[in-house]
């Protein structure tokens, strides 16, 4: 790290960290008082309104990776790089009608695992849980690492200390408040993120002349403005499919669909996509301005915060610091809550202890949140090579789940064998493509293999699924009724 690049002193960094840590924990405790039972802790009472619903979906999808990687994409792939990152919002748009159908088919559902188990049976369920938990861990680790990196870039706080504090704070307030705390803090964090990005972008625009930036790029790096940049175009589709896979399969989004009121879930997801779309461009373009401002980029991982702090000085560094802290917290808390739900509800409650009491589930939920925090911390300790690698390595896994989920929700003929082979084959060939060709095609190839497998299998041996089997509350009522022998 070049010490000349650090514009916030360590003391200020620690003060900011302390202020926001105390604020999130206090808000978490305040909103967490609403959680009276395990279901309230997991799904915030299933009555979340439009404002909080849209904000939580948007804020969760604005990860620290958005703030860190969007400028990297701009620096490596120019205009198409920023647009490619923005296509990740399409996952939220397309999840909107799915959220409506999920609420209709599974009115008392808890997790995405519930759907896969009831729709496709145990083998697909186990495979799905593996993919989902591996991806969630990769996402958690990439964000914990990003937190450590950005704190170091902006204030010189040692990577390990910064990463540990951010992770610890998120574990604490998720532990106290469950989804009530997560959604409540997400709203505040989403406002800070949106306002912070606009402030940084607007001030950068007062320091540079965009036509000059354009001419500089056209002269020195015309490829960044190229209408036909093959790698960037592949990245666009890859990112789009990665976004679909992530949003469609991950319990982070399913738990929100279950938590929102039935009449607002689809509208809230659509609005969150609209709110998310411009963010990678608004946060990423500042990297394109680096050359025109004479900023020497030495650490590509931290190019966005570096440019902002160089242009805006200490105030800019504080704004970026706070925005990244909020984007980290809004995603880490959601992942901790949703992944622990998946482990408690699907692994413990359904596989190990079906008669566990509400109190037992609540206690175990707290322990799993702490356990996830510890595992994430241990994996993040050795700073891994590249944020892109951590994030995109799991891309082909989640992309393989896109079509089994879509077909499972809308197509009666989709069968369980097809779903299982689609996930296994898509993941395997996608991972091979990742190493043999590159990250920018891995998700694309995985999704293509997955859809082909799903279609061929389900057309050759069509299933006849009865949608009513997805409503477990009705199934429980039926099995609870006394049996009268005639």
């Amino acid at each position: 790290m070049d010490s000349a690049n650090i514009t916030l002193n360590q003391g200020t960094g620690w003060i900011l960290l302390a202020i926001f840590s105390i604020a999130w924990i206090a808000l978490g405790i305040f909103w967490g008082r609403k959680a009276k039972d395990h279901e309230g802790f997991m799904l915030a009472g299933r009555n979340v309104g439009m404002a909080l619903g849209a904000a939580t979906a948007m804020a969760t999808w604005v990860t620290s990776n958005t703030i860190m990687l969007a400028p990297q994409f701009a620096l490596k792939m120019g205009i198409w790089g920023m647009l490619a990152y923005s296509t990740a919002s399409f996952g939220l748009f397309l999840f909107a009608p799915m959220a409506f159908r999920i609420r209709k088919l599974l009115p008392k559902g808890f997790t995405s695992g519930d759907f896969v188990r009831l729709r496709y049976g145990k083998a697909v369920w186990v495979c799905f849980l593996l993919i989902s938990i591996i991806y969630s861990m990769a996402w958690l680790v990439s964000m914990a690492m990003a937190g450590g990196i950005v704190l170091q870039t902006l204030s010189g706080i040692d990577y390990i200390y910064g990463m540990s504090v951010i992770l610890g704070v998120c574990v604490l307030y998720t532990l106290f408040g469950g989804l009530f705390a997560v959604i409540g803090t997400d709203f505040v964090q989403s406002l800070i993120i949106l306002i912070g990005i606009v402030v940084v972008g607007a001030v950068v625009l007062t320091k540079v002349d965009l036509p000059t930036v354009y001419n500089d790029l056209a002269t020195t790096q015309p490829a960044l403005l190229d209408v036909m940049m093959p790698v960037a175009l592949l990245a666009l589709f890859n990112n789009m499919f990665f976004g679909f896979g992530e949003v469609f399969h991950n319990n982070v989004w399913w738990s929100r669909a279950f938590a929102m009121r039935g009449d607002v879930s689809h509208k809230a997801f659509f609005l969150s996509g609209c709110l998310w779309f411009p963010i990678p461009i608004a946060a990423g373009f500042i990297a394109l301005c680096a050359g025109s401002m004479g900023i020497n980029v030495t650490d590509i991982d931290g190019v966005g915060p570096l440019v902002a702090s160089q242009v805006l000085g200490p105030i800019g560094a504080i704004v970026v610091f706070v925005v990244v802290f909020c984007s980290l917290a809004s995603s880490i808390d959601s992942l901790l809550a949703a992944t622990s739900d998946l482990i408690i509800q699907d692994v413990y409650h359904k596989m190990i202890a079906p008669h566990a009491s509400d109190a037992q589930l609540r206690i175990l939920g707290s322990r799993i949140i702490i356990g996830l925090g510890i595992v994430t911390w241990l994996i993040s300790l050795p700073r891994l090579a590249d944020l892109n690698m951590v994030l995109f390595l799991s891309g082909p896994l989640v992309a393989s789940a896109i079509f089994p989920i879509i077909c499972g929700l809308y197509w009666k003929k989709a069968n369980r064998t097809g779903a299982l082979i689609a996930m296994l084959l898509g993941s395997a060939i996608g991972l091979y493509a990742y190493f043999a060709i590159g990250w920018f095609v891995a998700s694309l190839i995985s999704a293509a293999i997955s859809v082909l497998t799903m279609l061929v299998s389900s057309l050759l041996a069509p299933g006849k699924f009865d949608w009513s089997q997805l409503d477990e509350s009705k199934l429980e009522e039926v099995t609870a009724e006394p049996i009268h022998k005639s």
């Binding site: 406002l191 949106l194 306002i195 972008g201 625009l205 354009y214 036909m228 411009p278 608004a282």
Partner: protein
Amino acid sequence: MTLFSENFFIILIYGSLIWTALGALILIALLLKDRKNNKIW
């Protein structure tokens, strides 16, 4: 090599910032509406 036009470049950047700012205003307005109708949670 065909490049994106300068106008597109400028509109893209200004547009994204205005759109992002509008997003914050929409969220605040929705929260006030939900609060009025007692439908926040």
